[in-house]
């Protein structure tokens, strides 16, 4: 079996976003970059298949030289081999997915994991796009996954419930929190990952279909009203919500 996790590097969740000088992207100064939190579930899933079914495991990332850091993180978690499709270009999800699909089509993976979305652009597109480019099934927002022979049975989160979805491998699975518990790499793994080689590839597709024209910060509301400090404030709050805000 061959299991591949596609991962990306993003600003961590504590990042306070500032608009960069180009007016279209974030100011990277002072930002800590990490593996996309949802991609940790993807990496963990692949590593578990290595442990259970002796799967050969890979991670692939599209990004700058610095994205090697997230590949090393995946190594430390137990992934065998990493590939970086190295580009400085600003690519949208369509272009990222095209590049991934071009590499993946030569690899004959049985199962390809993604995080359900990256926490920077929140696009929730790449995994499913890749599946369509490869002409294979996909299941997104997966909170539980079972593999029986050549078939995967996944629980997919929907509004107010879940769908039980079935497909045959090869398949793309986009992981939601809850699918597994990503392991913390140990120090030995982290040290060993530092010197492991990472294969570099050239991008094959650099033409985005969407263009970000402008980035801005959401308007800050005026300072709110402090209604009170004790249970008596409850009466006043209910009145305000009904008569002033008119939301009840």
């Amino acid at each position: 079996m061959k299991a591949i996790a596609c991962i990306s590097q993003v600003p961590d969740t504590t990042t306070k976003v500032k608009v960069g000088s180009d007016g279209r992207t974030i100011d990277p100064s002072g930002v800590t970059y990490v593996i996309n939190p949802f991609d940790e579930f993807a990496v963990e899933a692949a590593v578990q298949l290595k442990e259970k079914s002796a799967a050969e495991t890979y991670v692939i990332s599209v990004g700058k030289e610095s994205a090697k850091e997230v590949i090393k993180k995946a190594y430390a978690m137990g992934i065998d081999k990493g590939i970086l499709i190295k580009t400085e270009a600003e690519l949208d999800s369509f272009a990222v997915a095209k590049n991934l699909a071009d590499v993946l089509k030569e690899m004959n993976a049985d199962i390809i994991f993604f995080g359900k979305q990256s926490i920077d652009y929140d696009d929730s597109q790449t995994g499913t796009l890749v599946a369509e480019f490869l002409g294979i099934p996909s299941i997104s927002v997966v909170v539980d996954l079972k593999i029986e022979g050549n078939t995967v049975i996944a629980e997919r989160e929907i509004e107010g419930g879940k769908e039980i979805v079935e497909a045959a491998m090869p398949v793309v699975i986009c992981a939601q929190k809850g699918m597994n518990n990503p392991r913390y790499p140990n120090l030995k793994g982290i040290m060993a990952a530092k010197t492991r080689p990472i294969e570099e590839k050239q991008p094959t597709f650099t033409e985005s279909k969407t263009k970000v024209v402008k980035m801005e910060l959401p308007k800050i509301k005026g300072k709110g009203k402090i209604v009170g400090t004790d249970a008596a404030a409850a009466v006043e709050l209910v009145k305000l919500l009904r008569e002033e805000a008119k939301v009840i």
Binding site: T14, S124, L129, S140, G160, V165, I226, A232, R242
Partner: protein, 324 residues
């Protein structure tokens, strides 16, 4: 000339609010762009509800019906949406940014070689083209996006675009489908509905709890208030990671991004990743004993006090008022 195709989602042959929002939006922008709009319904028996779209100004409804389409299949639905767009000569496709729509839209995008702006919260017509505004970083920032491919896709965030009533008579046309078993390579075997629980992503009111509740056993205070308001129960990442609450309730950058009419944050200090996920709520109430908690900076109304004292009082007061 532009022509808009809007895929209006249905489950069990029923259209939810997000669908009516999408239909209204398609009609509205078609008028602004001087274009036509057509609505597409997919399901096993959706012609029964097709006519109801007339009340939103819809003049044309295309119906894709097949017993096998009773549940969502990413492969089959994507094929129908993409082929319909092609056959009807539509260059703009609207899809709701629901769990179904977010799964469907990328496949349609690949099939139509079309750029996709996801989760849009505003669309503006500029020079005869649509300019989309959408949140990124879970709402910490907004971007304006232009789709530059000949065919353009937009997914629209639910509970943001208005439902607009306008009398029209919807002409309903059944589509000829060519579906093979291969089109159902991905199959939904079962839909499990958690009846007792309203989902944060669909709720108009959310009551959320955080670490200030001190333990999972005290979450009952949040649930009681939510029950009185008919609200969904939400949670901060801290309490989900601590195992107090299921991950499906998590609001924030690594949970769900929500925009309800009313969000009541109880014992939540307001970590930046949490604020990102809920700051677009129309009205925010914060209850926290720390007056310097960041949540108060975005709250419309705050009570600086003890959640254990205030929540029961608030629940009682709502009970009293809503009973009248």
């Amino acid at each position: 000339m532009a022509k808009i195709l809007a895929f209006v989602e249905s489950r069990d042959n029923k259209i939810k609010n997000a669908g009516f929002e999408l239909a209204s939006t398609a009609v509205k922008y078609a008028a602004e762009l001087g274009a036509e709009s057509e609505i597409l319904l997919i399901g096993s028996d959706v012609s029964t509800v097709a006519g109801s779209l007339g009340a939103y100004g819809v003049k044309k409804v295309l119906v894709a019906e097949d017993a096998r389409l009773d549940k969502y299949s990413t492969t089959a639905y994507a094929k129908i949406v993409a082929e319909t767009a092609k056959q009807r000569g539509c260059d703009t496709v609207f899809i709701s940014a629901t769990q179904m729509g977010k799964d469907l839209a990328p496949r349609v995008s690949a099939k139509l070689d079309a750029g996709l702006a996801v989760d849009c919260i505003d669309l503006k017509v500029e020079g005869g083209e649509l300019l989309a505004t959408r949140p990124v970083y879970a709402g910490k920032a907004l971007i304006q996006v232009k789709v530059e491919s000949p065919v353009k896709l937009y997914s629209l965030r639910p509970n943001v675009f208005k439902i607009l009533k306008a009398e029209a008579t919807a002409d309903v046309e059944k589509l000829q489908l060519n579906l093979t078993d291969a089109d159902f390579a991905v199959k939904t075997k079962e839909v499990v509905v958690s009846n007792e629980k309203l989902d944060v992503s669909e709720a108009t009111i959310i009551v959320s709890g955080g670490r200030g509740l001190k333990g999972p056993e005290n979450y009952k205070l949040v649930e009681d208030l939510a029950a009185v308001l008919g609200a969904a129960v939400g949670a901060s990442r801290a309490v989900v990671d601590a195992g107090w609450r299921p991950h499906g309730e998590q609001v924030g950058q690594t949970g769900k991004t929500v925009s309800p009419n009313l969000y009541i944050a109880c014992g939540i200090s307001g970590a930046i990743q949490h604020l990102a996920g809920m700051s677009s709520a129309k009205c925010i109430v914060a209850i926290n004993k720390d007056k310097d908690a960041p949540i108060f900076q975005i709250a419309d109304y705050g009570i600086v006090g003890d959640v254990f004292e205030i929540l029961p009082a608030l629940t009682e007061e709502f009970k009293k008022v809503l009973a009248n």
